[in-house]
């Protein structure tokens, strides 16, 4: 995984459970005329955990891919290496697929291409302009690099992308289309155009430009919008017996997956949260579990005034009395909102919470809003054994996904 905290799963887990924030003032480009000037940007440079693009792709390769593809490939390289799955036999390659999506794709690249077209004309548009910015080219590059010739697909469901990719990929395995799927999401839309667009939609935090690490504060009464983030999260999914036969390291089992649509508004969640409610309900039904079986919820929790409370009330309605016993946190408090990568990055945090018995905290939750009375794990990680972990993702367009993970069987 690649996040604003850094590169790699072990580094990320150490950072997030120690309450570190990856949100900083934006220095990489001009922001003085933008209302939101903070973001979760992937650290580049020499510090520990910094992202080194050269490790993933040569400068020549990178000229033909927008950065979201580089992030996605880096996350996929790590996941595939960790899985130990390096098929060579043709039939094994053909049973291995890729489903890595993105919410927006090559926004920076498209913006720059449009400027080139306007300034210099069509003859100066690179032959790599289209493949550098297409969303499904993460899956394309990953398949080429690793020789995975099975299903090659890409999800595009805004901020639910990463969760839908993992859920849908698991169903391809369940339906017999593949034995192994590399799945997740990648995003790198933190640029002037991305910030301007989300700012105009009044979605971003604007009141914490001088205190970046305090800007993402899910459920806190002073929250004022989400903080844009970038990065990628990718997992390797595998049919259980296939994994057992080769003695694979199994982190967790996907137990449930649920989807729903709000059919309500392009950006706002339906007021009573029934979209999220029904996605969670569907995932529980698919898992053949009850709300009482869930010990940890990794919330969508973006730090917007509207969304956080709606999700909280939907959880309380679905979980009833058990809402008092479940722990729910938002890791977006530390890394911001990674849009199309959010669901898959948060799936990884959820799996590690389950595996390690540690709940990552909700940073900056100083004063919960009225009615937000669940255990929201403020400020500090806590140890707690987790039987099943649930992860929510909700996206623009009213698209909702919910994943439930259980211990390796």
């Amino acid at each position: 995984m690649v996040t604003p905290l850094g590169t790699g799963v072990p580094f990320n887990w150490d950072s997030i459970t120690n309450g570190r924030s990856g949100i900083r003032a934006i220095e990489a480009f001009e922001v003085s005329d933008l209302p939101s000037r903070v973001a979760g940007m992937v650290p580049r440079g020499d510090q520990p955990g910094a992202f080194d693009a050269d490790q993933t792709a040569s400068p020549k390769e990178r000229r033909r891919m927008d950065e979201f593809i580089v992030f996605g490939m880096a996350a996929a390289d790590e996941a595939v290496k960790d899985s130990g799955w390096t098929p060579e036999a043709p039939e094994d390659c053909e049973r291995s697929g890729v489903m890595i999506g993105s919410g927006i794709g090559g926004l920076k690249g498209i913006a720059e291409g449009a400027v080139t077209l306007e300034k210099s004309g069509p003859r100066r548009i690179s032959p790599f302009f289209i493949p550098a910015n297409l969303i499904n080219l993460v899956s394309g590059h990953v398949s080429i690099r690793h020789g995975f010739k099975g299903p090659n697909h890409a999800v595009v469901t805004a901020c639910s992308t990463g969760a839908h990719a993992i859920g849908d990929a698991s169903r391809l395995i369940a339906f017999g289309d593949a034995d192994v799927m590399v799945a997740g999401g990648a995003e790198s839309a933190v640029c002037r155009l991305g910030l301007a667009g989300f700012s105009s939609a009044k979605a971003l935090s604007t009141g914490f430009n001088d205190r970046p690490s305090a800007a993402s504060r899910p459920w806190d009464r002073d929250r004022d919008g989400f903080v844009m983030g970038e990065g990628a999260g990718v997992v390797v999914l595998e049919e259980l017996e296939h994994a057992r036969r080769r003695g694979a390291k199994i982190y967790a089992e996907i137990r449930g997956y649920g989807l729903s649509g709000d059919a309500y508004h392009i950006t706002a969640p339906v007021e009573d949260g029934n979209g999220g409610f029904r996605a969670m309900q569907a995932a529980l039904r698919n898992a053949e579990l009850n709300p009482e079986d869930i010990d940890y919820i990794n919330a969508h929790g973006t730090s917007t005034p509207l969304g956080d409370e709606i999700e909280h009330s939907a959880v309380k309605r679905l979980f009833g009395e058990h809402a008092k016993s479940v722990s729910m946190s938002s890791t977006k408090s530390a890394i911001g909102h990674l849009l199309g990568a959010a669901g898959s990055v948060e799936a990884i945090y959820s799996i590690l919470a389950l595996k390690n018995g540690v709940i990552p905290p909700t940073l900056n939750l100083d004063n919960p809003s009225d009615g937000c009375d669940m255990d929201l794990v403020p400020h500090e990680a806590k140890e707690r054994s987790v039987r099943y972990a649930l992860s929510n993702s909700f996206g623009f367009g009213g698209t909702n996904a919910c994943l439930i993970f259980g211990h390796a069987p």
């Binding site: 040569s58 400068p59 020549k60 000229r63 033909r64 003859r123 100066r124 690179s126 032959p127 790599f128």
Partner: protein, 78 residues
């Protein structure tokens, strides 16, 4: 070696990520230097930019080696 030849070779090295020693005048972009069809389009664009000239598509199709590029540019620029 002419100035044009040096500048052409520099562009080829940068765009194709190959070692300078491999970029001989007879080297074919596709057969010797590992370029694909998209790379060659990009190379031609880079030549146009560097030498402030226009290379029409029918001419670009005939630029297959380092030598071809140098010859075209010498002919069409001062």
């Amino acid at each position: 070696m002419s100035d044009v030849a040096e500048r052409v070779k520099k562009i080829v090295v940068e765009h194709l990520g190959v070692e300078e020693s491999k970029v001989t005048e007879n080297a074919s972009f596709i057969d010797d230097l590992g370029a694909d069809s998209l790379d060659t389009v990009e190379l031609v664009m880079a030549f146009e930019e560097e030498f402030q000239c226009e290379i029409p598509d029918d001419a670009a199709e005939k630029i297959l080696t380092v030598k071809d590029a140098i010859a075209f540019i010498n002919e069409h620029t001062k």
